[in-house]
Subunit: 87 residues, 2 copies
């Protein structure tokens, strides 16, 4: 399936979360990731994310669609993707 | 159409951007919005967003799908939506 993941995570935990999400998905903006992922891998990602998160204050939203072609994406302004290669 | 909008905007401009996006869409997380919107209204929103943005540093990503039912959403942790009524 195709996934868009966005998080809003406390500063202390954000580094860990970024590292985790980048293992599974493509980083496209500050706290936004997307990519093709299997259900099993997504469950794994969710499980690990819950371990990092403080669920009282942090938030993680996952949108998913069975087919990427049902979703159209446009980027206005700066594309952050280039950062991905440096970190 | 159904839209997910995420932005990454410099601190000085983020207040204006938030205010703009909330006129057109539902605020679901720090810098994430979603909602049903017409093509005309989306163009209007984009036009106004470009006026606010510094396109050298700011970034706006718009995902859209023709039908909301093609997209599934899950929220883990804190739902930020409640804030919406206070601001």
């Amino acid at each position: 399936m195709y996934v868009i993941l966005v998080y809003d995570i406390g500063e202390k935990r954000v580094g860990k979360m970024l590292k985790l999400c980048r293992k599974y998905l493509n980083w496209i903006q500050n706290s936004v990731f997307e990519g093709e992922i299997t259900e099993v891998k997504l469950k794994e990602l969710e499980f690990k994310a819950r371990e990092i998160m403080d669920q009282e204050v942090d938030s993680l939203i996952i949108f998913n669609t069975r087919n990427e072609k049902w979703l159209d994406k446009r980027i206005i302004g700066k594309e952050k993707n280039e950062l991905d290669t440096f970190l």
